[in-house]
Amino acid sequence: MFCHLSRGVVEDVPIESLISRAPALLLLAILVLLGYLALLQLDQSGLLAAGAPAALVLALYLRSGRGGRS
């Protein structure tokens, strides 16, 4: 299914632009949640290691030529 991405959606509408970036924004939100809990609430900085692979994937995704859109 993911190989039949629909084209031609009006991307200049703000909500459409936001939805286009959903995968990157959601992964970022997960990393923010991890960082907040690890550093501020639990004081366990070692937990941040769990976010390192996801942060790398997010960086690769943002650099993949679509600017985080899908």
Partner: protein, 190 residues
């Protein structure tokens, strides 16, 4: 440092609910309403059957969300590389791997906070202990890789064998118990 706001279980459940709605909106607008319904519908059934914890909202919401994010990220990463573009096996394998990567921070957080995760995993694989991964074991990551790969593999298979949408739905929803068995079998191979 002290947290200005304490995040509890209900906040985590609200976060996962909002994230699922956002991901479903992405599926609805960027793919199709059929895709949105079939993915998250089958995903929730799969999660309900796959979980060994009490089927709480967070453990049922988590798997389809994680698999969806993994599949969407895979698409973004793979589509720009001509050598692997359109290769279904690469898509499925990478979605599996990214399911583990996306799930890792969430199961680490859930473990540290004492919240439920769908399935516990405590075996030590390749001598990698939990401190390397912020708490979860490599077995926990492999669990999600197996589940994500099997779920997306089945979804892709039913999508590409030329079935009508009605039959796709019937087969996808009806196969979820077998997908759980497949994920358990794959997880047990390591």
């Amino acid at each position: 440092m002290s947290a200005p706001v304490d995040i509890g279980l209900h906040d985590y459940q609200a976060f996962l609910t909002a994230a699922t709605v956002f991901a479903a909106a992405h599926a609805y607008r960027k793919l199709s309403p059929f895709f949105c319904v079939s993915w998250f519908g089958a995903g929730w059934i799969f999660a309900y059957l796959w979980t060994q914890a009490r089927p709480a909202p967070e453990v049922v919401l988590l798997p389809p969300l994680v698999f969806y994010l993994a599949a969407a990220l895979t698409k973004g990463l793979v589509e720009t590389r001509a050598s692997v573009q359109g290769n279904h096996l690469v898509h499925v394998a990478m979605t599996g791997v990214l399911s583990g990567v996306v799930a890792l921070p969430l199961i680490a957080v859930a473990g540290a906070m004492g919240w439920s995760v769908p399935r516990p995993a405590s075996r030590v694989l390749l001598s990698v202990n939990g401190s390397w991964l912020g708490g979860p074991t490599l077995d926990g990551v492999w669990l999600w890789i197996a589940a994500g790969g099997v779920f997306y593999g089945a979804y892709k298979l039913f999508d590409h064998v030329g079935l009508s949408r009605g039959w796709q739905l019937v087969l996808l929803f009806g196969s979820t118990p077998f997908l759980v068995m497949g994920a358990e079998w794959l997880h047990g191979l390591a």
